[in-house]
Symmetry: C2
């Protein structure tokens, strides 16, 4: 005898009552409930996941899809672990479990997701590393699976999304650098599949135009979103004849390699070239310390969770005023890397 039957036999009551007691149904005597809960704890009973979700058609699991073995976003190290912590803080109130669904680099992400939803694995999904055109969005929309994306896509199917405020970062960076006297400003962007690059570049272009400046196409650096990519950008930058006096790094991890390339060329950030980047645990330990845009990853996780829940029928009423689309603000942390431009050009 196993499972709920064992518990029922042990208490000499029916399995129906046991189930009702454990699930907090009102039609069970409080004394009985107490006994059931005590026995469950004693025998270490936890309802079998398969049986429960087969009957209920629900799993109480939310999947966070990630792709292994690849670097798409350039968000390193502890980024996701912090976001997860915020998500879980919300989920814990609703007995929802967060699991990371790991798509192998050998498998197509959309195929993987199709497999996951067809199997009925999760009640809802959080998608990250969204591409500019991302078939996963359409897939989940069609199947009516609740989901939220971290990152906008170009094909907006009306789904809920959160995204970092790259427009705000672009605007603030350009304004700040221009105010510091810079006129020739370089920017970076990820490869073409990622949407945020377009958003960022266009806003930089607009912000420069507002100051009567043009964005030099030669000064838009494209690279892999990792340290090596940053190194390459640094090499390219210092080798330019008409070197820019400032640069805005859109990714988090590229600053590390960028600094190294500058250092090898005898160029010092904050003196010879102003640098604004993104916060990472390493950023504040670069020398000179990086002026960067920072955000609370845990709060971002909380917002992701709340946005998702606000679209799920079972929880909607508990999150009535949650925005389904939001640009998440980033805060400027002043370092020593973007000192004013004193040289005359």
């Amino acid at each position: 005898m196993k499972g709920i039957r064992r518990l029922a036999q042990h208490l000499d009551i029916s399995i129906g009552t046991v189930s009702r007691a454990l699930n907090g149904r009102p039609d069970v005597n409080e004394e009985t409930r107490r006994r059931v809960l005590a026995a469950a704890k004693e025998l270490g009973y936890v309802a079998n996941q398969s049986g429960r979700s087969l009957r209920q058609g629900t799993t109480n699991i939310i999947g966070f899809m990630m792709q292994t073995g690849t670097e798409i976003t350039g968000q390193g190290d502890t980024f996701f672990m912090s976001v997860f912590d915020g998500v879980q803080a919300v989920f814990a109130k609703h007995k929802l479990d967060l699991v990371a669904l790991l798509c192998s680099s050998q498998e197509d992400p959309t195929d993987y997701l199709r497999r996951v939803v067809a199997r009925g694995f999760a009640d809802g999904m959080i998608l990250s590393a969204t591409q500019r055109h991302d078939p996963r969005v359409e897939l989940l929309s069609e199947r009516n699976i609740p989901f939220v994306t971290l990152g906008r896509t170009l094909t907006d199917a009306g789904q809920p999304w959160l995204d970092l405020d790259f427009e705000g970062m672009a605007q603030a960076s350009i304004d700040r650098l221009v105010a510091h006297g810079h006129r020739r400003i370089a920017i970076t962007r990820p490869h073409d599949d990622v949407n945020l690059g377009y958003v960022f570049v266009e806003r930089c272009r607009q912000a420069l135009a507002a100051h009567g400046l043009a964005l030099d196409e030669e000064l838009i650096f494209r690279s892999t979103p990792n340290e090596a990519g940053g190194y390459q950008i640094g090499r390219d930058l210092v080798s330019l004849d008409d070197r820019p006096t400032a640069i805005v790094l859109i990714n988090e991890t590229i600053a590390i390699g960028f600094y190294r390339a500058l250092s090898e060329a005898g160029v010092t950030p904050g003196r010879d070239v102003a640098v604004i980047g993104r916060y990472s645990p390493q950023a504040q330990f670069l020398s000179p310390s990086l002026t960067c845009f920072r955000l609370s990853l845990r709060d971002l996780g909380v917002a992701l969770a709340e946005t998702l829940l606000s679209t799920m029928p079972a929880f909607r009423d508990q999150y009535p005023h949650t925005a389904t689309n939001k640009l998440w603000p980033m805060e400027l942390v002043e370092g020593a890397s973007d000192a004013p431009h004193f040289h005359q050009s």
Copy 2:
């Protein structure tokens, strides 16, 4: 009509035959199988996870347990993503899926794991961030859940484990530094709950003793395994009256903060103090570049997967010669941070 019944109805055969066809049973006509497979693809049918695992008592899922919101090992996201990729390469051959089970920082890891196994969520587990005394090991052993740990525990229950070869790293580091003329060598270690610290410190002590040197207890630095911890170690080190001429950093991420602290004090790695650390994507971009111990994370993942499968009855015969315990070697990458010690002490 849903699920397998829909498929059976569509083909006008029984659900039993459909199931047998999809699961590759021999007692089904090849022509029938072809038709079933085609129809399944056309209708996008994938067997419901709950139904299947309820009947079979097996989930085809392996869980990799991680703790969110905490830094125990000092290994970042890219670390695990690479390991995962190796694990999945093996699992893909056996139609096993890897998911990361995320234990919230609010919940006790052992309670979480108990919940997961009681629910019958996974067929097997991979544990990381193992503590010196880790109740999770006993839990899984008792329940007879196949598992492997990444990291040894003190309470060895005979379970399979893989671990990085910190002994080898300790020995090679000390030998190398002594050969370079260093006599006063500092080391670092994580906090007391983590086993590898003991292993590492003891081997360093032995290696030094073999050269007739004693390990100065004052030169064992303990810190959080992140950049801030490294910064603190750096500050502490430069403020010592009798400063060591070399240091071995056991964690991956601390080098970043350590370099910064040295830089602020006008101390240069590789000239004023020799530094040996662990490889990370950032390490090669530190300046001067870090001499460090590196390993193939993907291969480590492959080994983890094979070790786990070799303990599972269903797969054991396919991995007959897999060692259940293994110290994973690390390779020295020469940088510029551990130059010979030319000063007289």
